[in-house]
């Protein structure tokens, strides 16, 4: 299992296409994140995070806050560690045996990696949407009902129906599928599948939703729907989204964090990052010089 997961996560570290001098620049032992990584009203905090896959360091000394009800975008070239960082936030890296995480994480001030932390409850509070739509090979209804069932959120069928309908509505999928709730979720189109996965994630009422390149497998129209949806979800949830599309980051997020080779280079207001990046690397990336 390990190899398979690792592939998707560490492949391409150091894949940066462009100049070598930039790489050397980043690899200097000490670095300072430019911008404001901390938030006055933090939902989640991460301090001095280092992540290793066996001996290989995937993340180096990253500190970042995720503010309440904000959408924070994490951008950067392939293999820069943004997905790895995202996965540390709900301990999805735990299932990779070779992965080792250092640093302090908190959700509403509560230690995520503490000895008494229940990963099951943590993941119910910090949900995740993945790169490839991955509905269960079950009916649409069962897909959404899965989380509420395992966490015992509904006491009877009527309540469960209500949760399912409500989640599908919030994921703006209900009207499209209301007549085929018993059809397999895998039969939907790619964009619908991804919205189904979002509905599935919000069915357990998480506080934070982590999205790992949720639109990378979708066409532009489906992508636009998801982006609208993210904007709507912001009212009730805190969202961290990893994306390869800078336009997407600019459209959906309030803050943007730029990762490069496992380091958090720059973080700030999205508008500022995209109009006046302070770091040379950020500028190179957003102007398309590499990535």
């Amino acid at each position: 299992m390990m190899e398979r997961v690792q592939q998707t996560d560490t492949a391409g570290i150091g894949d940066v296409k462009r100049p070598l001098d930039i790489r050397e620049h980043v690899e200097r032992a000490d670095y300072q994140t430019i911008g404001e990584p901390f938030s006055g009203d933090a939902k989640m905090t991460a301090r001095n995070v280092n992540v290793y896959y066996d001996e290989k360091q995937a993340i180096t000394n990253v500190s970042l806050d995720i503010g309440r009800n904000e959408v924070i975008a994490m951008i950067g070239p392939s293999g820069c560690g943004k997905s790895t960082f995202l996965r540390t936030l709900n301990r999805m890296n735990d299932i990779i045996p070779a992965c080792r995480v250092e640093g302090e994480f908190a959700l509403d001030g509560e230690d995520i990696y503490g000895a008494d932390q229940d990963t099951v409850l943590l993941r119910a509070r910090v949900g995740m949407v993945f790169q490839k739509p991955n509905p269960f090979p079950k009916s649409i209804y069962e897909n959404v009902a899965y989380g509420p069932r395992i966490h015992g959120l509904a006491h009877n069928k009527a309540e469960l129906d209500e949760i399912v309908e409500d989640s599908l509505r919030r994921a703006s999928l209900f009207n499209e599928v209301k007549d085929q709730l018993d059809k397999p979720g895998t039969g939907l189109s790619g964009g619908q599948q991804q919205r189904l996965c979002i509905a599935r994630a919000i069915a357990v009422s998480p506080e934070v939703i982590l999205m790992d390149e949720p639109c990378s497998a979708l066409d532009p129209i489906a992508t636009a729907r998801i982006e609208e949806l993210i904007d709507e979800l912001r009212e009730n949830y805190t969202i961290a989204i990893v994306t390869h599309s800078m336009q997407q980051a600019a459209r959906v997020s309030q803050r943007t964090a730029y990762f490069h080779m496992g380091k958090l280079i720059e973080v700030g207001e999205t508008k500022q990052i995209f109009t006046m990046p302070k770091h040379e690397l950020t500028e190179n990336y957003i102007t398309g010089r590499f990535g």
Partner: protein, 462 residues
Amino acid sequence: METTTVFLVLVLLTFISFFAGRKRSHAVTSGLGGVRSLHSLPKHYGYMAALWALLPALLILVLWLVLENSILARIVMNELPGGVRELPVNEQGLYFNQIVSYARGAIDAAQLDAAQIAAADHYRDLSSSSRTIKALLVFLVAILGAALALRRIRPALRARNHVEGIFKWILFACSFLAVLTTLGIVLSVLFEAIRFFHAIPLMDFLFGLEWSPQMAIRADQVAASGSFGFVPLLVGTLLISTVAMVIAVPVGLMSAIYLSEYATRRFRAITKPVLEILAGVPTVVYGFFAALTVAPFIRDLGATLGLHVASESALAAGLVMGIMIIPFVMSLSDDIINAVPDTLREASLGMGATMNETIRKVLLPAALPGIVGGILLAVSRAIGETMIVVMAAGLSARLTINPLEAVTTITVQIVTLLVGDQEFDNPKTLAAFALGLVLFFVTLLLNVIALYVVRKYREQYE
């Protein structure tokens, strides 16, 4: 010339054709700018020439070998006196065999009549000329094939595509051979079984409740009533298979789950090969393990509990058969569970499901069709298993579903019927073929059901 020599010469010719073809491809381009002007690489022209030399000649050789004897027999038999040709088919065969044996010098003339000796001389002449003609024909066809191929070589010839096409047909022929073999086996069993059903009505066989395959050899023999009721055997087979599956399915499936989902890589690397050794133990070893260790143990255990357990109980045979099948079930299930995409695991774990919930609610449903298919394959294996039951299950065809009693199975009876002296015109012997046929249909049915289940309950994942 002996067939082996013919074949070796043919192989030699093939090699020569290869080099000739390659050389010719160089020759035809000498004025045209060399090898670059060829459509294919020189070696492809070589392959083409070699295949043209080999395949038709090989086909003729094989056909000759297959048909030679029966054609020779027909020629010789036609020249024998009319009285011989009116003999029953069996005796004609015997008569002819004597001729062949004499021609080969295996028996001496004293046992034969004059007509047979004359026929034997003729047979000897015929078969020696047959050998010569065979060799000449094969070489001629090989050389002709190679010559034809060589003549066709020119720069525009698409030798590469041509060779590709020939290989496709060779592959097709191989798969066709497998189908033919299966068909041949089924037919040979079928014809013997039909002979059996001439003696014993089909309904008596399929629905009879008593199995005691004793046929009178003499008319006045005591206890000469044979009864060929198949039901006790079927019930015995199913009983033992059920016991085996009750052991094998939970243990195999759960160890597969442990290995694929929980075990560390190190543990898996050690355990899986060890479990697979179980699959490598010859069934005869399981057989005496069952007969000498497990069966007495179960009998004694039963005795201490106040139960009467036969010393050759269905339970003992089934238990050991179950152990034999564990690695089979485990290995198949493990592959299938591993094939469930990791994205589904992540999806479930990411929602806060525990590992156990993920396995029960996501992985197993997704893997179910494959697992059911694997289990049904294991059932087929249990039903067809012979050695363990021969040694451990006994021979008494009792109609019971009590696993503590001795029962017998279809395969055991086939073995018993065919071991020792038999005559092939006796229903007792032919019954083995009928049993084989039924066994074939039972496993076929199981496979069909397996396919149906797999298709119906498949949860599609990408």
